[in-house]
């Protein structure tokens, strides 16, 4: 999506602020349902980022898989468990302090790396003109079935294993409670 410079900046900053605030909401919220709904806002604002970055297919996949499948799964599990015992962040233990310390170190490290980074020049063949002419989904699809065929097949095996694993985990518990 090619917007003008000012429009792009406004959209970026609005949705970046929205995403960061919602991400903080995930951490701060006292009940898991509120965390999950904040997470939905993060997912949707990231989908807007992908649209800004000229990646419409990834944006649609983000909405369908994350905001659709993953989040609904979270909400179903919250509904099933109904964990009323949520306490928020809780008291300030040494573990919490250590966690914040580690995260501050992480942010400083990332800031130093980003400010010193020498970015390589753009050398790829998939310029925005090429992609918009060939079609975004077509380009990703042809890459997925040629250059990235092996990772694609491994991902499908992973999904199969995950399905079997999830079913067997849920089933074994039910047999145990019946006994």
């Amino acid at each position: 999506m090619d917007l003008g410079g000012i429009t792009e900046a406004v959209v970026f900053y609005v949705f970046a602020a929205l995403g960061v605030l919602a991400a903080l909401g995930v951490v701060i919220a006292r009940t898991p349902v509120r965390s999950a709904l904040s997470l939905a806002v993060v997912f949707l604002s990231l989908a807007v980022m992908y649209l800004l970055l000229n990646a419409p297919f990834i944006a649609v996949a983000q909405v369908m898989i994350y905001a659709g499948a993953v989040l609904i799964l979270f909400l179903f599990v919250i509904m099933v468990l109904n964990p009323r015992l949520e306490l928020g962040i809780g008291t300030l233990s040494t573990q919490t302090v250590a966690a914040f310390g580690i995260t501050v170190v992480l942010i400083v490290e990332l800031a130093i790396i980003l400010s010193n980074a020498q970015l390589a020049p753009a050398t790829g063949q998939f310029t925005p003109e090429f992609v918009s002419q060939a079609g975004h989904v077509q380009v990703i699809g042809s890459l997925l079935f040629s250059e990235f065929l092996l990772p694609f097949e491994i991902a499908s095996m992973l999904l199969l294993v995950a399905i079997v694993g999830a079913i067997s985990l849920a089933k074994r518990v039910r047999e145990e409670t019946r006994r």
């Binding site: 960061v20 979270f74 995260t103 890459l143 849920a170």
Partner: protein, 100 residues
């Protein structure tokens, strides 16, 4: 003008918030949400650099990461449900049966 660095900074902030969620919260559901946040932050970096370098490999990789995230959530949430049914508790500090 929004450059690739803007996206990288946003991604770093989201990753740090996700890490805080995993380290600070004691509810495994919220910890999983933190992991999802971190995966999303990495995805944003992938797409931003894919756009900047005119290279679609990053977007294909994001597609693979989406698959892994879906598989991880399915198995992880099944584990959470199994643990909750067995122990009636979802506090990760109380799940220490394997401690030596």
């Amino acid at each position: 003008m929004i450059t690739v660095t803007h996206y990288a900074v946003l991604s770093a902030i989201l990753f740090a918030i996700g890490a805080i969620a995993v380290l600070v919260r004691r509810n495994p559901l919220v910890m999983f949400m933190g992991i999802e946040l971190m995966l999303n932050a990495v995805n944003l970096t992938f797409v931003a650099f894919s756009r900047y370098l005119n290279d679609m490999s990053g977007q294909v990789f994001v597609f693979i990461v989406l698959t892994v995230a879906a598989a991880e959530v399915a198995v992880g949430l099944a584990l959470v449900v199994a643990i909750f049914r067995a122990r009636e508790s979802v506090d990760v500090d109380e799940i220490d049966s394997l401690r030596g």
